[in-house]
């Protein structure tokens, strides 16, 4: 199963509606934007996989500091190269949609922040995370002492079992206290 060349069948559309949080208009819009990324030859291939560089040309992702991590997390490619099929793209939009639940969003946020993919957020992950948040250039990054102070504060607040890393449940506990999270973890085409 997969996307047919240029149009979505009705059956497929309703299946996607059941399996994701997207509405019919959102799925159709996603399909339109996705096919715009394809070259003419690729349009005829079912289940085509678009490389990460082309996905990152989408304006919604272009300036997001987590764009590469997002592509890696949602990619089902065997080579771990961040390329996305249309269904991966729908999964991405579903997790970032308006109606997705807090659990889904926090689960994927955790995976996006886990830079080394080991299932927990340790100090290296947190350091990379903070650097993404504050900016790539040198003058917008915190000094070494500030970073150390910040990471120790974060671990003190969120690491409940004191094992030096933040696991998924601890992360979800922090997230659940924030009323802004669901509305800010949103990408709408």
């Amino acid at each position: 199963m997969g996307t047919t060349a240029s149009q979505l069948g009705k059956e497929l559309l309703s299946e996607y509606q059941e399996l994701t949080f997207l509405t019919k208009q959102e799925i159709l819009l996603a399909h339109k934007r996705f096919t715009e990324l394809l070259t003419r030859e690729e349009k005829d291939i079912p289940n085509v996989r678009v490389p990460m560089e082309r996905i990152l040309t989408l304006p919604e992702l272009k300036s997001n500091p987590f764009r590469k991590r997002i592509c890696y997390v949602f990619s089902t490619s065997e080579h771990k190269d961040g390329s996305l099929t249309f269904e991966d793209f729908l999964d991405l939009l579903s997790a970032f949609s308006d109606s997705a639940t807090m659990e889904i969003k926090s689960h994927y946020a955790f995976r996006i922040f886990d830079f080394d993919d080991d299932g927990t957020l340790d100090s290296d992950d947190l350091q990379k995370l903070v650097n993404c948040l504050t900016g790539e250039t040198d003058d917008t990054q915190l000094t070494f002492e500030e970073m150390k102070q910040l990471i120790s504060n974060i671990l003190e607040e969120s690491d409940i079992d004191k094992d030096g890393t933040v696991n998924l449940s601890e992360f979800q506990h922090v997230i659940s206290r924030s009323p802004d999270f669901v509305s800010s973890f949103k990408i709408v085409l």
């Binding site: 509405t23 490619s77 900016g135 500030e146 409940i160 094992d163």
Partner: protein, 674 residues
């Protein structure tokens, strides 16, 4: 494990539908994510109402795997005819719900503008605009309420009634001639529109126009009672809406047993807004976060340092703070005295004509606005000397500005009250129990004051836009030198703008009883304000580096709004209960006090209804009710305490279990080495 923990063998099976293959990945992934195990059935009791569709979407798996799960679930579900139709009904209900949500989304006011503002300027500025939208909707629905129960019946019954007004009371008290006499110059219309006098005074805009139709036997709609109860209900409705708005943030705090206050982990994990597009907005947000982190870390260092101050330094710091506090209050006191004198002066010279007369009429508003502009500036200058941490500084500045704004309003109302009830010259009130010499219809006069304040606020905002902000941007952009760089582009300071909104809304609430169309005017004014502020934001302002936490701040804004509502209710209760209504105008002209209409109407009801109402008002009912509410309050407080305690207990338990786990792992390692 070489592969990433998430995709152990999952990627290879995405194309295959085999059920056998489905089991293999779940074992390895469920070690790290036990709730993802697709072979386990979701709790059948809980989710049977939602149907299988709900479960599938909430499983964080790839599309191919979700499809396999769905097929497996469909095979497992027994096809019973009853269950099947129930699920179908639920499906259609769900579809209806999604359609309703989509329609509601379409009607949400200014949704795209809000997204644009939030993406470019961040959550702090967005909270101002969300607050403004809330006030627009509140005013609009209040207007609909008033229109439905007071204005439309007045229009309908006025045409039926004719001009039969029962004359009660002394002749001197009944004189009321609001219409202009003789030839009227053209520009007086404009002046009258701005000050609420002349041609606009005897219209539906003000209290004085409404009639008391309880004499008319054909009509059973009691306009005075409707007027009074609509005013009361309108204030209760606003109270209800504000409390609901405050409720969401407070609820999270109670349930999790702690404050919602931003902490470092909260900022780092939830601080990024994924919907902001554009390189400029991203850089902005990054700068924002960087600044916030720096500020928070610095505050922590300051706190640690101040905890280690010597005794002598502490004394000097606190004495300095006390002096500056007194100085700040001195500024506020001077401003208040100035407003007092201006209002008195304006009242004394209220009979002047022409432009000078208009100036005297608007003098209190001018002085109030001037004071509200200058005093916060002065306070901002002395704030660095107090050496509070940045967040406390902002709160102190807001608190002082709020005090000044609301007190200036109180002074104005107090002066008016003194005039109406003749504090200074008691002989003027002997005749009609209110100052009939100056105010033939005092309610309209109060309404006019509030109307003038509202209009003046709007005019000032326009003037600021055209005379200050646009020129400032033109100068700063086109003549770059040291001075203009120091002044810089305008910054959109959220707290002071919000105070302007709260002040405007308080004025409207105070005046709505005396000027029923004021909520409508305020709706239009706030809509105009929205577009004005949006234009100024995008064309004139540079983004503020100092952010304001949006969730705690919206709680704080709603809290101040409650303060304003409380003040307005006080004014209304006092004028309804204590002051004698004008005998020449208005729906309460035959009563001795406005409240009297309620007992009079009750006597017209049937015996049983009267007894029931008396019972509700008596002590036998109200004291148990009061006791019950206290009990409910205690229960809820106790519940919140219990939640807090259980959260702490569970946290300690988790910590201990983590220690146990590490101890056992160490033991295993030790034994395996032996």
């Amino acid at each position: 494990m070489q592969d990433s923990a998430y995709n152990n063998g999952l990627g290879a099976h995405s194309d295959r539908q085999s059920l056998r293959m489905r089991r293999a990945p779940s074992r390895s992934s469920s070690r790290k994510y036990p709730h993802l195990d697709p072979s386990s059935d979701p709790d059948p009791d809980e989710d049977s109402d939602d149907g299988p569709t709900r479960d599938l979407r909430t499983i964080p798996l790839q599309m191919g795997l979700k499809r396999t799960v769905r097929q497996a679930q469909q095979m497992q579900t027994p096809i019973v005819s009853d269950g099947y139709s129930w699920k179908k009904k639920n499906k259609s209900l769900l579809k209806l719900k999604t359609v309703a949500i989509e329609i509601l989304h379409f009607f949400t006011l200014w949704r795209k503008s809000m997204q644009k503002i939030g993406g470019n300027f961040g959550g702090g500025v967005l909270s101002y605009f969300l607050f403004l939208r809330f006030l627009v909707l509140l005013n609009f629905f209040s207007f609909l309420l008033i229109a439905g129960f007071v204005i439309i019946p007045s229009v309908v019954f006025r045409s039926e009634e004719g001009s039969s007004v029962n004359s009660t009371g002394r002749e001197e008290c009944m004189v009321y001639n609001p219409n202009p006499q003789g030839l009227v110059v053209f520009y007086t219309y404009f002046l009258d529109f701005l000050s609420g006098t002349g041609f606009i005074e005897f219209t539906y805009l003000f209290y004085g126009f409404y009639n008391n139709n309880s004499n008319n036997i054909n009509v059973s709609y009691n306009i005075p009672l409707a007027y009074l109860s609509t005013a009361a209900f309108f204030l209760l409705f606003c109270l209800f809406c504000i409390i609901i708005r405050m409720g969401t943030t407070a609820r999270v705090a109670v349930a999790t047993g702690g404050s919602v206050e931003g902490s470092y982990s909260m900022l780092v994990f939830t601080g990024w807004d994924y919907s902001s597009t554009g390189g400029q907005a991203t850089k902005l947000k990054q700068q924002n976060i960087y600044y916030r982190l720096q500020v928070d870390l610095e505050e922590e260092r300051i706190k640690k340092k101040s905890a280690s101050l010597t005794q002598c330094q502490k004394v000097s710091l606190y004495s300095g703070r006390v002096c500056l506090f007194i100085l700040a209050f001195g500024f506020i006191g001077a401003a208040i005295a100035g407003i007092f004198f201006a209002t008195n002066f304006s009242q004394q010279n209220s009979d002047q004509e022409g432009i000078l007369g208009l100036f005297y009429e608007y003098l209190p508003s001018i002085v109030i606005t001037g004071a509200n502009f200058i005093v916060p500036l002065l306070n901002d200058q002395i704030a660095p000397l107090e050496r509070y941490s940045p967040s406390v500084t902002v709160i102190m500045a807001l608190f002082r500005a709020v005090l000044l704004r609301l007190v200036s309003l109180i002074i104005l109302l107090y002066t008016l009250w003194r005039q109406i009830t003749c504090e200074k010259t008691p002989e003027d009130c002997a005749l009609c129990k209110y100052n009939v010499k100056v105010y033939q219809c005092w309610e309209t006069r109060v309404g006019q004051e509030m109307y003038k304040l509202t209009l003046f606020d709007l005019i000032i905002n326009f003037a600021m836009l055209f005379l200050v902000e646009i020129p400032r941007r033109i100068v700063v952009d086109n003549w770059p030198n040291k001075l203009t760089r120091w002044v810089g582009r305008q910054e959109f300071v959220v707290p002071y703008n919000v105070l302007g909104l709260v002040y405007g809304q308080t004025v409207v609430w105070t005046g709505a009883f005396f000027c029923p169309l004021l909520p409508l005017i305020n709706t239009i004014k706030f809509i105009i304000l929205f577009y004005t502020k949006k234009t100024t934001l995008f064309t004139n302002c540079r983004p503020a580096l100092r952010t304001f936490r949006s969730t705690t701040s919206s709680f704080f804004f709603s809290g101040i709004l409650l303060l304003g509502l409380f003040l307005a209710s006080l004014v209304m209760i006092y004028s309804v209960a204590e002051i004698h209504p004008s005998m020449a105008c208005g729906p309460f002209r035959i009563f001795n006090s406005m409240w009297e209409v309620v007992p009079v109407s009750i006597t017209k009801l049937t015996q049983t209804t009267r007894e029931f109402l008396f019972f509700i008002g008596s002590q036998a009912f109200s004291i148990p009710l009061f006791a019950l509410s206290c009990l409910m309050l205690c229960y809820i407080v106790a519940l919140s305490n219990v939640y807090k305690k259980s959260v702490t207990l569970l946290k300690t338990q988790l910590k201990l279990e983590g220690q146990d786990k590490r101890f056992l792992v160490r033991q295993i390692e030790r034994f395996s080495r032996m």
